[in-house]
């Protein structure tokens, strides 16, 4: 779906540059890249391991088994290749930074999360209609404990709805303000205070 973060051949050189800083195993490389992307992008195993295998085939790195890890080390040939293409490396760095910014923007706008929960909701709606059919046909189970539990569950749903409504309303107001550049730090502090108080009130009402 998404365009690749690394363009054709970029990852290969990038891995080489990371290994030039010291020997690492595969998972470590994944984490190193994730870190440089500020956590917004993490290359999958299917991206890293085949590339490392290729690099070893070409003699640019060596592979050493270490317990359940596989440590990769750059060779002289690898360092030569890296030196030869130093100029490209700078371009890749810029290219990667660009991709990161783009990904970060997408994440920030929350589109991914919304789509994900939408899918989950559709799946659960389908499930529920199935369950409902089963429920209307089955026998009647009833005990006071079960009733209390069911009532609690219903109340839970109500409560969560209320919280979400509250959150959504607040977010709307906040976004409005922010768009006009009128959301000050002091407002955020005030918000925190109000939220804290609300929580304490609620806990008191429960009798703790």
């Amino acid at each position: 779906m998404n365009p690749p973060v690394f363009s054709h051949g970029s990852l290969r050189l990038y891995l080489l540059s990371l290994l030039a800083e010291g020997a690492k195993h595969g998972y470590e490389l994944i984490q190193a890249i994730e870190q440089r992307f500020g956590g917004t992008y993490s290359p999958s195993a299917g991206t890293i391991y085949p590339r490392l295998s290729k690099l070893e085939e070409e003699g640019l790195v060596t592979k050493t088994a270490d317990g359940r890890k596989t440590v990769y080390e750059i060779t002289d040939a690898g360092r030569a290749e890296l030196g030869r293409r130093e100029s490209e490396l700078a371009d890749i760095e810029a290219e990667v930074t660009d991709s990161v910014r783009r990904l970060a923007d997408e994440v920030r706008s929350g589109v991914n999360a919304a789509l994900k929960s939408l899918r989950a909701d559709l799946a659960s709606a389908a499930r529920e209609s199935k369950e409902h059919a089963r429920f209307t046909a089955g026998p009647a189970p009833a005990s006071s404990d079960l009733d209390a539990l069911a009532a609690s569950r219903f109340a839970l749903r109500e409560a969560e709805l209320a919280i979400n409504e509250f959150r959504s309303a607040l977010r709307g107001e906040l976004r409005d303000l922010a768009q006009r550049g009128k959301l000050a730090d002091s407002a955020v502090t005030g918000l925190r205070t109000a939220l804290d108080r609300a929580r304490r009130e609620f806990q008191d009402a429960l009798g703790r």
Copy 2:
């Protein structure tokens, strides 16, 4: 962080019941469970594979390598164990259905808000990219306005973080209570009151 979907020992029996329907490999079992959960829950590899190993140790299933897959098959001993504990299985099914419903409800209650905010996010993202284009192409706008905007956007992020934290904390407490059947309607009413007050407080602090 989340409570386990399968309680102590439940997964073991559940896997056995799935294998009674036919031989499967590990990943297939993960997908089968995910399907029954409507996509809202997927057991991790770290949950499935150790359990399968144990079952094989106990002689309740056999393991057969098939290419890069490892196919598990139920044994007579496994079927015996399954028959012996048939009653428990029904309980587990109910327990699992409960967990599924709980997870689905959590997602669902967030969906409306997510959809609503999706529209707002898309709109604001569009506006932002337009602004960015204007910024890079057009003349330089007043820097103080831009600073105020940037500061506001930062404050917005902070505020949303605080809200999410608040929401997640409250939800945790509510779930706890509901699980023990101790969440009364009155508590929900109290919650609504507290939330309303918090909102009014915040708006007052903004000076409306």
